[in-house]
């Protein structure tokens, strides 16, 4: 099972590294989002209070949606998804492999986005790097868990580009809220670590629920 997941992940990363198409486009889109917010909200060189946390997570969510759509569009175009499903591999393993690929992609994007947001909005995002990493990782996994499932489901649907946000955003609201609150708590001048720990624990609980549900439903949802 783990071997299958690893193989799927390796395949995705290999394909992606060759052209870096999705990585660049996602990053560019997320950076544009952040710049838009900067133009709109930064007045006379001063950023709005606590704006940084929300803007970071919005950029991750929008960029993530784009990445999800593009990843599965690529699968659809080369019909590799059908091939994958026909292979004698456990379906949940395929899901896990795809999920890890998306998380890796988003994590790479976040490495660029975090310093950018910190700079544009004068937010001390890098003051507690370990906790920020925990928040970002658990939030990204939660978002990607639901996103991977829904994108895979939508590959053969009509209006798939429109439907992905329609399906994804309501469900991932708790993840985004928890992520934003945790990040905002980390940006306070005197950080309440208990509060951050609380939000991270909630994020992990959400991750467990979403991944469990996704693993359970991936098989019936992908079969015709």
């Amino acid at each position: 099972m783990i071997r299958t997941a690893w193989l799927v992940l390796k395949k995705d990363l290999t394909v992606e590294v060759r052209s870096l198409e999705i990585a660049y486009t996602t990053l560019f889109f997320a950076v544009s989002c952040i710049l838009f917010f900067a133009f709109a909200l930064v007045k006379e060189g001063k950023a709005p209070e606590d704006g940084a946390a929300g803007i970071l997570w919005i950029a991750i969510a929008f960029g993530g949606t784009l990445a999800l759509g593009r990843t599965f569009e690529r699968e659809r175009q080369s019909e590799t998804l059908r091939a994958l499903l026909m292979a004698p591999a456990a379906r949940p393993a395929i899901y896990v492999g795809k999920l890890l690929g998306i998380v890796a992609l988003l994590a790479a994007a976040e490495v660029v986005l975090v310093p950018l947001v910190a700079f544009l909005f004068q937010a001390p995002l890098l003051s507690h790097p370990f906790w920020l990493a925990a928040v970002l990782l658990s939030g990204t996994i939660g978002f990607a868990a639901v996103g991977t499932l829904f994108s895979a489901m939508l590959v053969r649907a009509r209006s798939r580009d429109v439907l992905l946000p329609v399906l994804l955003y309501p469900i991932t609201v708790p993840v985004i809220i928890a992520g934003v609150r945790a990040t905002a708590a980390l940006l306070q001048p005197d950080v309440e670590l208990a509060l951050v720990r609380f939000w991270v624990a909630l994020l992990i609980a959400l991750d467990v629920v979403f991944v469990t549900l996704a693993l359970w439903t991936f098989e019936p949802l992908m079969t015709d």
Binding site: L154, S159, V162, L163, V173, T217
Partner: protein
């Protein structure tokens, strides 16, 4: 339509007609006064909203893992009713809140997660309508996630400090308030059953139509 439908509809209509009298007779609440009486419709509609989401989720799971079209029809009907009763909750609540809390809305856990659950139900309907082939399974998957949200909505108000009253309000209600409330709950539950059956009937007729079109093609 089954035999019990019309008699039950008549009984429910009568009960609904009677409910305002019971509500008017219930005592006023100390701090909120008259506006608190919205409670007698707000709470039952909230319970039915959550119940409907659960029914949709269970039917969706049974459809996904069993393939029964009957369950799919039930899930579709339940999703529509989730939107209906959710709309009632999300309108009666702020109307009450405007007087009781001074604001129409607050982004606290209970309200936000309820709004989110409502949006999931809307998304279900959008997917069914515009998703094309295979959208029944997509929506079923979505409904499962929506059902996972329900326990969170219910207990959120006990674990977070929110502006919304806690669930301990209902067990500690004085008797004369309780009578009005439970009567309204019964009204709403019966109405839910009736509307569900009616909506499923519509789906059954649509399925019949599809079958006719298919037989025409042969």
């Amino acid at each position: 339509m089954p035999k019990w439908f019309v008699p039950l509809a008549a009984a429910t209509a009568l009960m609904f007609a009677a409910s305002p009298f019971l509500i008017a007779n219930a005592p006023y609440e100390a701090t909120m006064g008259l506006v608190q009486k919205i409670f007698y419709y707000h709470l039952p509609s909230a319970w039915v909203f959550l119940l409907s989401a659960i029914v949709c989720g269970i039917a969706s799971a049974r459809f996904l893992f069993g393939g029964s079209p009957r369950q799919d029809r039930l899930a579709y009907a339940a999703a529509e009713l989730t939107v209906l009763f959710g709309a009632i909750v999300l309108v009666t609540g702020p109307l009450w809140a405007r007087k009781a809390w001074g604001v129409w809305w607050q982004w606290d856990v209970r309200l936000t997660s309820s709004l989110m659950g409502w949006m999931v139900a809307w998304a279900y309907l959008l997917v069914r309508k515009y998703g094309g082939p295979g959208s029944d399974k997509l929506a079923a998957g979505l409904a499962l996630f929506g059902m996972a949200n329900v326990p969170f909505v219910y207990i959120s108000v006990n674990y977070w400090r929110t502006i919304h009253p806690a669930t301990s309000v209902v067990p500690t209600l004085p008797v004369d308030m309780g009578v009005a409330l439970w009567f309204a709950v019964a009204c709403f539950l019966l109405l839910f059953v009736l509307l569900l059956r009616l909506r499923v009937y519509l789906e059954e007729q649509r399925a019949r139509l599809d079958a006719l079109y298919l037989s025409l093609d042969e």
